[in-house]
């Protein structure tokens, strides 16, 4: 557990970067600090490992005042990931990852074995281990940055906008893998971002900060969306709060309909027959996974991948209400596709059924 008690940072010249911050980052959880630029989120993060010394107040990690510890030893026990990756260009990927273990005095062989293990853990091909950072893509470098921070298995990780420098597709991938990794590792993580969507996606709890380093609200993402403390928080969270809040509400059992399907490669005639008067028919692969919708009356010959309508999203059974509703809203047939965990089609759901499930939740319910 990391706790800030009345922490203030005033820079020379009198600028207050952080003003009387008190908050707790619970063990094994992700605490996201989010806010506009100048809100002191990075300063707050960097005070935890004493890259910046607080002007007043105390920061404790598991009850120990960080001010009483040797800064370098403190930092060796805390994983640190930054936006630019900060890899050492003159060292191979493996040597980069092995940095902290070697600083801690592990023997070379053990450090290298550990580095290899982490390379795979963060989803990188082991052959990359012998390369140098300038031979990797931005996304790969960020993964190495995470692996390097994890190398000595620190209980606490500090992450300063680690995914902001990569393109949106890669960012989403990195976020998903980061959550999967955290699912296995249960680190105590403090994560800084300016991206509210990232904060909502990753945070177990989210601290919204305002300029001057003042905590505006600290709550779970669902609670923030449902009940922003003031106008600043509400504005910062942005539009569509009601809809976005559904992402944190698990869908109850929804009334599913059996969906007639055709296999990819079937004749259009068979598709039309299966559709039985409906304009759209769902196409699946051999394993029963939905591929997309097809419109038989506008096609001829065999149904191939190029003819499929791909606008519809697919929701997982037991996923969120938002995903289920979105599947229904985005489907050209207005029937939302639901799949099991293994990706196979289970059935379809109508938007009105999802809406009635939403209506049935108790008023003011949060997650």
């Amino acid at each position: 557990m990391i706790s800030f008690t009345d922490v203030t940072k005033v820079y020379l010249g009198g600028t207050t970067a952080v003003g009387g911050l008190s908050l707790t980052a619970p063990t094994g959880k992700i605490t996201v600090l989010v806010g506009p630029s100048g809100c002191g989120k990075t300063t707050s993060l960097r005070m935890i490992n004493r890259m910046i010394e607080p002007t007043s107040g105390t920061i404790e990690i598991d009850g120990r005042d960080t001010a009483s510890l040797n800064p370098n030893e403190l930092r060796r026990g805390i994983g640190y990931v930054i936006q630019s990756g900060g890899l050492f260009p003159h060292r191979t990927i493996l040597d980069n990852i092995a940095t902290v273990p070697l600083l801690l005095g592990w023997d070379r062989a053990k450090a290298r074995t550990r580095a290899h293990e982490l390379l795979e853990r963060v989803g990188l091909d082991p052959v990359l281990g012998k390369r140098y950072p300038n031979q990797l893509s931005g996304g790969q470098q960020q993964r190495v940055g995470v692996a390097r921070a994890l190398a000595a298995d620190p209980p606490v990780m500090l992450m300063d906008e680690p995914f902001s420098a990569v393109d949106p597709v890669v960012r989403e991938q990195l976020q998903d893998e980061f959550l999967r990794l955290q699912g296995d590792l249960d680190k105590t993580i403090v994560f800084v971002t300016h991206d509210i969507d990232e904060a909502m996606k990753l945070g177990d709890q989210v601290a919204v900060m305002r300029v001057g380093g003042v905590l505006a609200q600290l709550a779970s993402p669902a609670k923030l969306l449902a009940d922003p403390h003031d106008d600043f928080v509400a504005d910062f969270l942005g539009r569509d709060r009601g809809y976005r809040a559904l992402a944190f509400a698990e869908a109850p059992e929804l009334p599913l309909r059996d969906e007639p399907v055709v296999l990819l490669g079937s004749t259009v005639a068979l598709a039309a027959e299966t559709a039985a008067g409906d304009r759209w028919v769902l196409v699946v692969d051999d394993a029963g996974a939905p591929l997309g919708w097809s419109e038989p009356e506008r096609l001829s010959g065999l149904i191939d991948r190029d003819h499929l309508h791909r606008g519809g999203t697919v929701a997982r059974i037991g996923g969120s209400l938002r995903a289920a509703l979105d599947a229904a809203l985005s489907s050209p047939s207005r029937r939302g596709v639901l799949v099991a965990d293994d990706g196979r089609l289970v059935g379809t759901v109508r938007a009105q059924d999802v809406l009635s499930a939403i209506e049935r939740r108790p008023a003011g319910a949060v997650a």
């Binding site: 890259m51 640190y80 260009p89 140098y132 300038n134």
Partner: protein, 242 residues
């Protein structure tokens, strides 16, 4: 051209205590001593400036000021001041090396501080955040990353020193400068041209040696050519130039 060839191909010029091999050895000795001393001053000072960011303006201005003093004039002045205090050849050797060292320090110093200063701030920040001490950051991150520029400083200093070490002959010392000075005195233009050519060849050889050492010492990760991505981009550009 003929005179040059006559002088170079005369076996007498390759023998004895004033032959070409001895002069080359003397020249190399002056140059090596100069570079060693200049590096001893320039590299630590440059690393310190680059690492701490302190004293940059003062030191750089001072060094550039020294650079603007004419080397030959400084050499005579130094001989006049220091010479009487010492005896024999030393009276000329010390001022000569001193002047050459002053000439060699600026590029070495500039290479060292620019190299350290140019290290990716992210790498430095990460190093600190992982718990490296200030010295560990300097020697494990900053210096290895600065090596390409440290080498370029050394190499440009070496070229200048090898070329300028000919001045030693003007105060009665040896080295390849002897051929220039003596050649002029005897109006032996073959000897002068030969001496100049030898200086040029020696400078190129010294630079090649440095280049070889640089290849061995500098991490391949710092050379842009090895970057697979950039190579691919270049190949793509070559394939479809826009």
């Amino acid at each position: 051209m003929n005179l040059l060839w006559t002088w170079l191909s005369n076996p007498e010029n390759w023998q004895g205590s004033s032959g070409i091999p001895v002069r080359v050895a003397e020249h190399l000795a002056y140059s090596a001593a100069t570079l060693f001393l200049a590096a001893l001053v320039g590299i630590p000072l440059g690393l310190w400036i680059g690492h701490t960011g302190r004293g940059r303006v003062a030191v750089v201005n001072l060094v550039n000021g020294v650079r603007s003093v004419p080397t030959l004039g400084l050499l005579f002045a130094a001989v006049l001041v220091v010479g009487p205090l010492l005896g024999g050849d030393i009276a000329f050797l010390v001022p000569s090396i001193f002047v050459l060292v002053l000439l060699a320090i600026p590029p070495i110093l500039a290479g060292a501080y620019a190299g350290v200063e140019g290290v990716d701030p992210g790498a430095r920040d990460a190093a600190r955040g992982m718990g490296m001490s200030s010295m560990e950051i300097l020697f494990r991150v900053e210096v290895p990353c600065a090596l390409p520029l440290i080498f370029s400083g050394l190499r440009s200093a070496a070229l200048q020193v090898v070329a300028t070490a000919t001045l030693a002959a003007s105060v009665s010392l040896g080295g390849l400068g002897r051929f220039l000075i003596d050649g002029q005195a005897y109006r032996d233009y073959g000897q002068m041209a030969g001496g100049a050519l030898l200086v040029a060849v020696l400078a190129v050889l010294v630079d090649l040696v440095f280049a070889g050492v640089q290849r061995l010492v500098v991490s391949p990760g710092l050379s842009p050519i090895r970057s697979a991505r950039r190579v691919r981009t270049r190949a793509q550009l070559a394939a479809n130039p826009t």
